[in-house]
């Protein structure tokens, strides 16, 4: 039976996230407001005040505490949620490392925003990039419906016994956080059913009064090394499981997102553009237009950023004539975009071909159709063995 709710509402990305949290029935929610995430925190507070969200809502005094409260609640055995953005994310950095190292299956929203400068209340993925090696699973989404659906799927992934890792769901500030779209809000019973398999999992370790067990030292000597190995192995296992969860979700709700990546018109494509976040939607429209002009171009939407979908990407990108990567962030030290840097690392799987890095959309600057069309033109030129520029800053 496929569940299709009749409950379609025009809501923002932040509100869609709040509905997802509501439907996942967390025990503890802790969060601190920050633009452009505040609406999500306020919405959850309202759900709680209205008696819809039956949880402990902890209005903490800062993001560092938000992460600590959530991590500890998970270690005590509960389901928790927190959300932040930009400086808030880096303010919880010490605990981000702890949460993943303790293997706490927490789900968190990060509304992407530029970190430096207090006036930089602007969209940009640099905050997520700053935490790429924090040991978290990092997902990036494209639209409001996907925000809601991905949070639900993320609990399935995080709390799976074979994974036990925190998941960070990223969406663009402003362009998604404040974007109002029609969102199909699933029925509670259907979400309950979707999350039910978690109940059949072996019990994970939790903090029990009087049990005499404890955690937090992360191992000493070879113990430390062992827990690192296990962490890395779980991260690798999450790839395949994410694809499966996506397929299960599609079966249950008729909406699927392709798992780790979604490839759009890539099969016969000569050239491919890789993007993530809200820019993907715009890019789809441009790809269609370019195809009408006869350019065989495809699009890869990166959903998983950590772990990096090495295998899936290699399959799609192998044999292409040129690829371009759109980054809404920068990679210091490599003079390119961070995703571009990682795509370059795929060369040993996909071979050598022209690769172009486009940095666009920093600080709320709009990634327009014209920009994307220009990118595709550049990639196309490069595929024709014409000279090309490796890094381009737009606008």
């Amino acid at each position: 039976m496929t569940a299709r709710s009749k409950n379609i509402k025009v809501i923002t990305g932040n509100t869609a996230a709040a509905y997802a949290v509501l439907l996942c029935r967390p025990d503890v929610v802790s969060a601190y407001p920050i633009t452009p995430q505040s609406e999500l925190v306020e919405q959850l507070a309202k759900f709680h005040a209205d008696g819809l969200l039956d949880c402990e809502y902890v209005a903490v005094e800062g993001e560092n505490s938000a992460q600590n409260v959530a991590c500890a609640a998970v270690m005590a055995g509960g389901r928790a949620f927190t959300a932040t953005s930009s400086y808030g994310l880096v303010y919880m950095y010490d605990t981000l490392l702890q949460t993943s190292g303790y293997r706490a299956p927490l789900v968190m929203v990060n509304v992407n925003r530029e970190p430096p400068g207090i006036h930089a209340v602007y969209s940009g993925q640099q905050d997520m990039i700053c935490t790429r090696d924090s040991g978290w699973i990092q997902v990036v989404v494209e639209n409001c419906q996907e925000i809601l659906d991905t949070i639900i799927m993320s609990y399935r992934l995080a709390e799976d016994y074979d994974i036990q890792l925190p998941v960070m769901v990223n969406y663009d500030g402003y362009y998604l956080s404040f974007l109002a779209e029609s969102v199909d809000i699933p029925e509670q019973k259907d979400v309950d059913r979707f999350l039910a398999p978690l109940k059949d999992q072996p019990p994970r370790m939790k903090l029990v009064a009087g049990a005499g067990t404890g955690c937090g030292s992360h191992g000493i000597g070879m113990g430390f090394v062992e827990y690192r190995k296990k962490h890395m192995a779980a991260m690798e296992r999450s790839k395949e499981l994410w694809d499966k969860i996506d397929a299960d979700f599609k079966k249950a709700f008729r909406r699927g997102y392709g798992g780790q990546i979604e490839s759009y018109k890539c099969d016969d494509a000569d050239i491919v553009l890789i993007a993530s976040g809200s820019a993907v939607g715009t890019a789809r429209a441009v790809i269609d237009a370019k195809r009408e002009q006869g350019i065989k171009v495809g699009l890869v939407k990166l959903r998983f950023f950590r772990p990096f979908p090495v295998e899936k990407l290699s399959m799609v990108l192998k044999g292409k004539k040129a690829i371009g990567v759109l980054d809404r962030s920068i990679c210091f030290g490599w003079n390119c975009g961070p995703v571009f840097q990682e795509i370059c690392a795929l060369s040993r799987h996909i071979g050598i071909m022209p690769m172009l890095s486009f940095i666009d959309g920093l600080a709320n600057m709009d990634i327009t159709k014209e920009h994307i069309a220009g990118m595709i033109d550049e990639i196309y030129k490069a595929s024709q063995n014409k000279p090309y520029q490796e890094l381009t800053w737009l606008p």
């Binding site: 025009v10 663009d172 402003y174 362009y175 109002a180 820019a279 990634i367």
Partner: protein, 185 residues
């Protein structure tokens, strides 16, 4: 009907963001795909705010700002002074304007129609405060015909309730009925 793009210009506190969203809700009630979002820095009363609404019979995929609007809604007449307000306006574009003054001179050859109403006065009368947004949405429905007044009123229900809902419905109805339309060929 092909996709439509509407750009809203207002000042913080006048309800431009909400107007854009309410219009999206109204269109969603007619089965259309919608997308609406604002663009502003710090949230401050009086600061210029821009908001965007798109609707289409096909899914709206673009997540960009609107550069080639079909319609401009100007919630505060002082914002008419913005240098590039009409830049990119599509041919036969529409302007919905809150102004106490008559609007005569055609400011752009692409502007085909202007709907002008003293929405501030209507709002002060119906709501008791200077929140002209719902009146202007009523006016938009009348001038463009892109969306039905009853859908607009239904959309309000997503955001308002009780007495405020009633007052805003009257605000929108008056906008719908009282807007003065100027057309150019």
């Amino acid at each position: 009907m092909p996709a439509k793009e509407i750009r809203f210009h207002g000042r913080g506190g006048q309800g431009a963001v909400l107007a854009a969203r309410m219009l999206a809700s109204a269109c969603a009630y007619e089965g259309k795909h919608v997308a609406s979002f604002p663009m502003y820095g710090f949230e401050r009363r009086g600061m210029p705010v821009v908001a965007f609404t798109r609707f289409d019979t096909e899914p709206v995929r673009e997540k960009t700002q609107i550069y080639t609007p079909d319609c401009l809604m100007v919630i505060d007449p002082t914002l008419l002074e913005i240098g590039n307000l009409y830049e990119g306006l599509k041919t036969d574009g529409v302007l919905i304007l809150n102004s106490p003054k008559p609007f005569k001179k055609r400011p752009s050859k692409n502007l085909g129609k202007a709907g002008v109403i003293n929405a501030t006065q209507v709002a002060l009368c119906e709501i008791g405060r200077d929140i002209p947004n719902t009146c202007l949405i009523g006016a938009l429905a009348a001038v463009t015909g892109w969306v039905k007044l009853e859908s607009i009123i239904k959309g309000f229900g997503d955001y308002l309730e009780g007495d405020m809902l009633e007052r805003n419905i009257r605000n929108a109805q008056r906008g719908y009925n009282e807007v003065e339309v100027i057309s150019w060929d």
